[in-house]
């Protein structure tokens, strides 16, 4: 899909107008952002916004996320284990100490495979 985020009142208003006029290309609206279908029409609408509002419009292409392909096993396991923790108040950092689960700092600097840049 195409993610379009706006950064000014004028761009946000144009985004609303565009979405109102082209429901068929809109997957989901989030106020000042929208997910558009990855179709030529979606691209056309996103590019129109950028033509009109330049740097006040951000366009990104999203991909489906398959955790079994995209996320390492230890990260998947850590998420499962943490959500199954005994004490809801335990922060993850503390939870991970003394276990095989990766520390937040380690994960923070580890890019996902296939992700070129953000």
């Amino acid at each position: 899909m195409l993610l379009v985020v706006t950064y000014s009142q004028a761009a946000r208003q144009t985004l609303r107008n565009v979405c109102n006029g082209h429901d068929e290309a809109v997957v989901q609206r989030f106020g000042r952002a929208v997910l558009l279908e990855a179709t030529e029409l979606g691209a056309f609408l996103a590019l129109r916004l950028r033509e009109k509002h330049a740097s006040d419009v951000q366009i990104e292409r999203t991909e489906a996320f398959n955790e079994f392909e995209d996320a390492p096993e230890e990260v998947r396991d850590a998420a499962t284990a943490y959500e199954d923790r005994a004490h809801p108040s335990t922060p993850y950092t503390k939870f991970a100490v003394g276990t095989d689960h990766p520390a937040p700092d380690t994960m923070r600097d580890a890019e996902l495979a296939g992700d070129t840049d953000r």
């Binding site: 950064y7 009142q9 330049a54 953000r118």
Partner: protein
């Protein structure tokens, strides 16, 4: 007030333009009161010049009262309250937010050329890879057949060199785009802040307008009762707002407004000069 029309000067608290040969349009008269366009003495191109005090904020709403006029009551009352010296409690915060807004001026960052370069170098590299593969196949086939493969080998060597150059260029283009994207992300943080402040300023303005309008509403309701017409029309509303506001500049009153007998009574009601059309 001093009104200059083609070759004639009229002065006084009330100036009646209904007997002139020119049919003046209310917005043209308001323009002359606000000093828009050329000044008096600019020559015959200007049919009307009015020398009077500078209009305040309420004049925008009730500076011209005529049948068919539009009026947004709350903003009009808010500006009337301002002319009476009311200051909204939001004033300080609003000023602070506006200061921060004007200090935020994120530069334009255009990544278009960086994106285009990545796309073009990728295409070039793809094309060359295909060409190198085809040449390799040809060289192999010539060798297998025992034919002269020298020229084809030279062509392959040159294509391989070219491919490595293009690959280098592609990597450089991708790195440049990646750096530009990081700059754009920082830039967008400032834009996001600017948007947040703009929304905040709008909300404060709206709250201030509501508060100011509330401050003069009782006075306004009394004035509306005192207007000698029993309608809720914009004209009656505007007459009441004009009574509440502290107006210095003349009020233009169009034809069809017959709430008061004459210009003098209107002028007393407004406590301001009147131009009748």
């Amino acid at each position: 007030m001093r009104v200059e029309l083609a070759g004639e000067v009229r002065t006084g608290r009330v100036v009646d333009l209904r007997d002139t040969s020119v049919d003046f349009d209310a917005s043209a008269v308001v323009g002359a009161i606000r000093g828009d366009g050329p000044r008096a003495g600019d020559g015959p191109a200007r049919p009307l010049a009015i020398d009077c005090p500078v209009p305040g904020p309420a004049h925008e709403h009730v500076g011209a009262i005529r049948t068919g006029m539009g009026l947004s009551l709350r903003p009009a009352l808010a500006d009337a309250a301002r002319t009476r010296g009311h200051t909204p409690t939001q004033a300080d915060e609003l000023a602070a937010v506006r200061d921060r807004l004007s200090a935020l001026d994120p530069p334009e960052i255009d990544l278009r050329s960086a994106r285009r370069r990545v796309a073009e170098t990728s295409d070039d590299a793809e094309e060359l890879r295909e060409r190198v593969a085809a040449l390799r196949g040809r060289v192999q086939a010539l060798r297998d057949a025992g034919d002269e493969s020298g020229p084809a080998e030279a062509e392959l060597a040159s294509a391989t060199r070219e491919l490595s150059e293009v690959e280098t260029e592609r990597i450089a283009a991708e790195q440049a785009l990646s750096r530009a994207r990081n700059r754009a992300a920082e830039n967008r943080e400032r834009r996001r802040e600017r948007l947040r402040l703009a929304d905040r300023a709008d909300n404060l303005c709206r709250d201030a307008r509501e508060e100011l309008a509330r401050a003069v509403r009782p006075t306004f309701e009394d004035a509306r009762q005192a207007v000698p017409t029993d309608s809720e029309s914009p004209v009656s509303t505007a007459l009441a707002v004009a009574h509440v506001a502290d107006l210095d500049a003349p009020v233009v009153v169009g034809s069809g407004v017959d709430a008061f007998a004459d210009g003098e009574r209107l002028s007393e009601w407004f406590d301001a000069p009147v131009v009748r059309l």
